[in-house]
């Protein structure tokens, strides 16, 4: 029996979250990865607390961007390899919506969890405490944008055996605005200014992405299935 | 004892919160370290014993059946 769209999407989400929660390591892992990469910076740049504090918004945001890209590059990989994607494409429910469910679940597990624990990393770099809430909210919004961008790139490259890396590089230029707005918000907050306008810009990016990305993702996945 | 009053023990000249936080957190981790495998082992041995009882009961039951048949 063909279920309602709502039920179907709920099942999709459950399936995705269940598989992820089966291995808590998959959620904790990226966070520890982040922590490790953050420690690499003092090792590379030197231990001076003042320097680290001044650079911390930039460092945290660049690392968040990189780890988000690395992780979301594999977004549809397992679905493609185990045949789930074929089934989704043949389903009468819109592929755009089922793909978006995956992107959201992915973001909840990776971006949101990163945003939640980010104060710990900020503390390691001596970031001023008043900037922490802004760091968290900017990361939450920003990683959503990054997941959407990563998903578009992933949908196009999932079937490619050749030059897969090259195409996913296309996504880095797209992420530049996110990086600029995100760092600006945190830096303003650390200096005691009002970061609202930057956060609003990030929110606008996220909202626009949520509207437009589904179409791009669905088209990309259908093209990948043709290959 | 070095301290004169119990409140001095808690305060420790302003360092009390730090010292006590460190000690209580350590106590908590040590508790987890000992208690979690301890209770898990209890649970597992209990499950094994239950299994053995069940098997024994079943064996004696079928044994009686055989006896009654004979």
């Amino acid at each position: 029996m063909l279920p309602e769209l709502g039920t179907f999407l709920r099942f999709q989400a459950q399936r995705h979250l269940q598989a992820a929660l089966r291995r808590p390591g998959d959620i904790v892992g990226p966070l520890i990865f982040f922590l490790m990469v953050v420690t690499l910076f003092p090792l590379g740049l030197g231990p001076d607390p003042a320097v680290l504090a001044a650079l911390s918004p930039g460092i945290l945001w660049v690392v968040a961007l990189l780890s988000s890209l690395v992780v979301s590059g594999r977004l549809f990989q397992s679905d493609y390899e185990d045949g789930t994607l074929e089934q989704l494409a043949l389903s009468p429910h819109p592929l755009a919506l089922s793909a978006m469910v995956e992107v959201f679940c992915h973001w909840l597990l990776s971006g949101m969890s990163l945003a939640l624990v980010s104060p710990v990393f900020a503390g390691l770099l001596n970031m001023p405490t008043q900037a922490m809430p802004v760091l968290m909210s900017s990361l939450a919004l920003g990683t959503l944008c990054l997941s959407l961008i990563g998903a578009v790139a992933a949908s196009l490259t999932v079937a490619l055996r050749r030059g897969g890396v090259l195409l996913s590089l296309l996504s880095i230029p797209l992420t530049v605005p996110v990086l600029i707005f995100g760092t600006a918000a945190v830096r303003e907050a650390a200096l005691g200014y009002d970061p609202t306008s930057w956060l609003a810009l990030l929110g606008a990016l996220a909202a626009g992405g949520c509207v437009l990305a589904p179409f791009a993702i669905a088209a990309g996945l259908r093209i990948s299935l043709e290959a | 004892m070095y301290f004169e009053t119990w409140s001095a023990v808690w305060q420790m000249d302003g360092h009390g919160p730090y010292v006590w936080a460190a000690y209580s957190l350590t106590a908590f981790v040590i508790f987890l370290l000992i208690a979690s495998p301890w209770f898990r082992a209890r649970q597992l041995t209990q499950a094994l014993r239950d299994d053995a009882h069940r098997r024994a009961a079943k064996a004696s039951l079928t044994g009686e059946n055989h006896a009654s048949e004979a």
């Binding site: 029996m1 063909l2 279920p3 039920t7 179907f8 099942f11 999709q12 399936r15 269940q18 598989a19 089966r22 291995r23 397992s78 390899e81 185990d82 045949g83 789930t84 074929e86 089934q87 989704l88 494409a89 043949l90 389903s91 009468p92 429910h93 299935l225 043709e226 | -």
Partner: protein, 198 residues
């Protein structure tokens, strides 16, 4: 006269720059059971995917296909970290169920009783294929498109699957499958792709 579930009319099929098949015409009606034959590389898989609607770029000609279709290709569409039961809650092409009893019955039918809670990655090749095939017991689609469903399945499993296919056709469904082995099914129609080779 039974209704047409699938109709191809003088269809040409390309793969990349190469033409694989030309002038394929066939009609699948309710109750039909078709075995697609053809030597390795003749284009069975490509045609199957085109029929299902997965590839549209290489297909020229008229294709009419019912919406009520289930496709099982080389890939089983199973999440290797979820258990058999969890996987079958979502049984392909947008169909879902929460009825664990039905799922367990389907698993028992394909000989996987006792494996309900086992993760897919801990199963043997044939057992994994069986979990995928259990979807046929759960599905309510009319047209089944099965690409080499007997791969890695043992003798008992083959007999069981053949019986299920026949049951489905007798109940008014239709099946198109590929297989290199001869089967023991009655009233089988053959579509030999070698004759359409371009």
């Amino acid at each position: 006269m039974p209704a047409d579930l699938l109709k191809l009319e003088s269809v040409d099929l390309d793969r990349g720059v190469r033409r694989l098949l030309s002038g394929v015409s066939f009609v699948v009606r309710e109750g039909d059971c078709w075995q697609m034959l053809g030597s390795n590389g003749s284009g069975k898989t490509s045609l199957m995917r085109a029929i299902a609607g997965l590839t549209r770029l290489g297909l020229q000609g008229d294709r009419v296909c019912t919406e009520s279709v289930i496709y099982q290709g080389h890939l089983p569409g199973l999440k290797s970290l979820l258990s058999c039961r969890e996987n079958l809650r979502w049984h392909g092409s947008g169909r879902v169920t929460d009825d664990f009893q039905k799922i367990d019955v389907a698993l028992a039918r394909v000989g996987l009783q006792g494996y309900e809670e086992t993760e897919i990655c801990q199963l043997s090749a044939g057992q994994q294929r069986r979990v995928g095939l259990a979807r046929l017991w759960l599905s309510e689609a009319q047209l089944w498109l099965l690409d080499e469903p007997f791969t890695a399945i043992d003798v008992d499993g083959t007999a069981m699957l053949e019986a299920q296919i026949q049951r489905h056709c007798e109940a008014g469904g239709a099946v198109v499958f590929t297989s290199h082995q001869p089967t023991r099914m009655a009233a089988l129609k053959m579509l030999d792709l070698n004759q359409y080779a371009a």
